[in-house]
């Protein structure tokens, strides 16, 4: 609660009883930035009742991001997987669809399960029964008809491996194992 003027008692009280997310001490921006939800302990309320928990008058301290409340909002877990990309990723995986040109079905994988590109590619190879070539920054994937590509947040088709792993898993929306000339085309150039 930066900006509270200690001398101004009325202002202090107003802030203390203001209803917002999170425990007293968080500022608005930190709450909206992270995806984790506020977790007021049961019985603790910020606001209306006279017998509310004592915290309202506590000294200002910056609070760390809150843990998500279990089972809230009350939607069944398979619906949570369909939440907007904004949702917290701490507890559930990063599921993306994988398709391969020529294969009649899609598969779904959890990117969080893999620690890096080599693990991911190995998994894809065994899932779809094919081999990927050697990766080089300049030439893309050599030695195979296939090239693993992904669609990123902006909808662009990128070659898997071009960006650091952490950046990849946060921006990858869909994986596509391309075949043939289109695959080679993607490998060239920046």
């Amino acid at each position: 609660m930066e900006g509270v003027f200690k001398g101004d008692e009325n202002y202090l009280n107003l802030e203390a009883t203001e209803l917002r997310l999170g425990l007293p001490g968080t500022n608005e921006s930190s709450v909206t930035k992270n995806n984790k939800r506020a977790s007021p302990e049961s019985g603790k309320k910020i606001g209306f009742n006279g017998d509310s928990a004592p915290k309202s008058g506590d000294p200002v301290t910056a609070q760390p991001p809150k843990a998500q409340i279990v089972g809230w909002p009350p939607v069944r877990s398979y619906r949570e997987n369909n939440f907007h990309p904004n949702k917290s990723e701490s507890e559930t995986g990063i599921y993306v669809k994988v398709s391969m040109d020529g294969a009649p079905y899609l598969r779904k994988i959890d990117l969080k399960v893999y620690s890096g590109y080599s693990e991911l590619l190995k998994a894809l190879e065994s899932m779809f029964k094919f081999t990927i070539g050697e990766y080089s920054e300049r030439e893309g994937y050599n030695g195979s008809e296939y090239a693993p590509a992904y669609e990123d947040k902006d909808g662009d088709l990128m070659l898997v491996g071009d960006v650091p792993w952490e950046m990849f898993i946060s921006s990858c929306k869909r994986l596509r194992i391309m075949m043939g000339s289109e695959a080679r085309g993607l490998g060239w150039g920046a």
């Binding site: 997310l21 949570e80 907007h84 949702k87 079905y105």
Partner: protein
């Protein structure tokens, strides 16, 4: 009843009949009774009939063919199979509803296996199994498929413990299978191509629902199955079915009435120059289609394909479709006969206004959230709810997730929609007051219980004081189910409800400051309830022990998250209590303590 009746004799009565058949008059009466009771189908009527006298009890027990067990632990399989001998249909419900939201640890119970063991000798003619929130394994499914040759309908709702292997058993061994519906189940992917296990001959399948099965399906096998299932009326596909594959299936099954469309998006492979199928034509050919769902990965370009069927739609489930208001409008504006609509809040208030403008016969509306995060504002608000209440006067059931709501809008709905039986409002932000007045949401919910005289189910949220519960106790005379989360001030709140709602059967409460005094105030009523759930409240172990002593027919379960955790906390983490004829169950795991 065989035997000849001599019509020429005047004044023939039962005693004469009994002489002819060498029966006692009691036996004759019972036979008559059985023949009459056969026509009684409602279980409530049957329960009443069974209480008349021993004779009626026996006759009813022999003629009951549909068994409904609302709580699998309220009665044992042995007791049930000893009393009811001619059962053809079994419905069993297991875990409490809050288990859907991860509030119940795994392996709590509700195993179907114990029921199978008892049923196998007695219910050889079993035709239908309906399970909700039960644990059923692959072995159980194999046992079921193998030992009940007359089995026609299997419906599993919110069940878990099995995988595609179990489904393969069902497919291959249930020769008369007519309905196989898996709804919201957690089905593990054992890599088993279960669809291929259906027999090669023509099947009697009428309904196949597997949209919750999160593993790839052998499409060719599915297509062949659809071709050889001429009675198929309901088909709900999973998200691994692309729109191109959907097209092929629809072409094979134009007689469908219910269709779950799968992903409703193309696979990645779109060969350049290849003609896209005429999806609209496929829909147009399905002249009996009244129910649509799926749309798990919808590409809005294809929404227009739905146009030919919109005018006949009775049910539309868009709750997985991330579409905006404009996209919804293009569809909903044609859905004049719609009675049930499930949507995502991505459609915004504007989308809801469009619904209100067209769907005058709407009976049920569910608006689900796309985002779990707390925002001061969300895509749907009091504006949308108000619009719906004005346009859809016949509403009976509402489920509405939002970030903000006003008492005015809720009150308006209570007046505009007097037929409401189910009102579930979830204001996602905890303890949110009315953003316009700054007041608690007491008056809005008060208006609902007061004005909606047919209300049987209520879920409350937002900032609520004990006053809200006072209203509920005062006016909620038909209320059967109540869900409370993060609400109330003191024991008084729960007291009002327990004292005031005589029809209350299911009460589930979480994270609310209700304690021992409140718990005690319901002693007079707990035997009339199916269950009471209280988690993260202020109930002490002592109070629970007292309740258990005073009500011996009540099973009082104290559930903690960890098995090892000593009872360090003052309050019981989760209290789950229910009436039972059997006493404490034998299969409780370590983290459950039964008093």
């Amino acid at each position: 009843m065989s035997g000849s009746l001599d019509h020429s004799d005047k004044g023939q009565t039962a005693p004469d009949l009994s002489i002819q058949m060498a029966l006692s008059s009691d036996q004759a009466l019972e036979i008559v009774l059985e023949n009459v009771l056969c026509f009684l189908s409602s279980r409530h009527d049957r329960n009443a009939a069974s209480l008349v006298c021993k004779s009626w009890y026996r006759a009813e027990a022999l003629t009951r063919s549909e068994l409904f067990i609302g709580n699998c632990y309220s009665v044992s399989p042995q007791r049930v199979t000893q009393r009811f001998r001619q059962v053809r249909s079994v419905s069993i419900k297991g875990k409490p509803r809050f288990s859907d939201f991860s509030l119940l640890p795994r392996n709590w119970g509700a195993y179907f296996a114990t029921w199978l063991v008892s049923m196998v000798d007695v219910y050889r003619g079993l035709e239908k199994v309906y399970l909700k929130r039960m644990c059923i394994t692959d072995d159980d499914l194999a046992f079921l498929a193998h030992n009940f040759p007359a089995l026609k309908d299997i419906v599993l709702v919110c069940c878990e413990g099995f995988g595609t292997s179990g489904l393969a058993f069902v497919a291959s061994e249930c020769r008369n299978i007519r309905v196989l519906d898996l709804i919201d189940c957690d089905v593990s992917d054992d890599d088993e191509d279960w669809i291929s296990w259906f027999p090669e001959s023509s099947t009697s399948l009428e309904s196949l629902t597997f949209d919750c099965v999160e593993s790839p399906i052998n499409f060719e096998a599915l297509e062949r199955l659809v071709i050889r299932s001429p009675s198929l009326k309901k088909l709900c596909l999973n998200e691994y079915i692309t729109i191109g594959q959907l097209y092929r299936l629809m072409v094979r099954a134009p007689q469908l009435t219910h269709l779950g469309t799968g992903s409703f998006s193309p696979s990645e492979l779109v060969v350049h120059g290849e003609q896209e199928p005429d999806y609209a034509a496929a829909f147009a050919a399905c002249k009996s289609l009244i129910c649509l769902s799926g749309f798990k990965e919808i590409v809005p370009d294809h929404l227009a394909a739905l146009n030919p069927v919109c005018a006949n739609l009775v049910t539309l489930n868009f709750s997985y479709a991330h579409i905006n208001a404009e996209q919804l409008k293009s569809v909903i504006s044609r859905c004049v006969k719609l009675k049930s609509l499930w949507v995502l809040d991505s459609i915004t208030d504007e989308g809801l206004q469009a619904v209100a403008a067209t769907c005058k016969d709407l009976l049920e509306l569910r608006v689900f959230p796309t985002d779990a995060a707390d925002d001061a504002d969300g895509p749907v608000t009091e504006v949308g709810l108000l619009a719906i209440s004005v346009g859809c006067r016949k509403l009976r059931s509402v489920l509405y997730f939002c970030q903000r709501m006003t008492n005015t809008a809720v009150t308006a709905m209570s007046k505009n929609c007097p037929d409401l039986e189910v009102f579930r409002l979830c204001i996602i932000g905890l303890h949110r007051p009315d953003p316009v007045t700054g007041e608690a949401m007491d008056e809005g919910f008060g208006a609902i219980v007061k004005n909606c005289k047919k209300l049987t189910r209520l879920a409350v949220s937002g900032l609520l004081t004990d006053k809200a519960f006072c209203y509920i106790g005062q006016y909620g005379k038909l209320l059967r189910t109540l869900s409370v989360a993060f609400a109330g001030d003191s024991d008084l709140g729960l007291r009002y409800v327990l004292k005031g709602c005589p029809m209350l059967r299911k009460l589930e409460i979480r994270d609310s400051p209700f304690g021992d005094l409140a718990l005690h105030s319901g002693l007079h009523h707990y035997y009339n309830m199916r269950f009471l759930w209280m988690s993260s409240c202020r109930v002490t172990h002592k109070a629970c022990e007292q309740i258990a002593r005073q009500l011996p027919r009540l099973v009082v379960e104290m559930i903690s998250k960890d098995e090892d955790k000593e009872e360090t906390s003052e309050y019981v983490e989760t209290l789950y209590m229910y009436r039972s004829l059997e006493g404490p169950r034998a299969d409780a795991p370590g983290f459950v303590r039964i008093l």
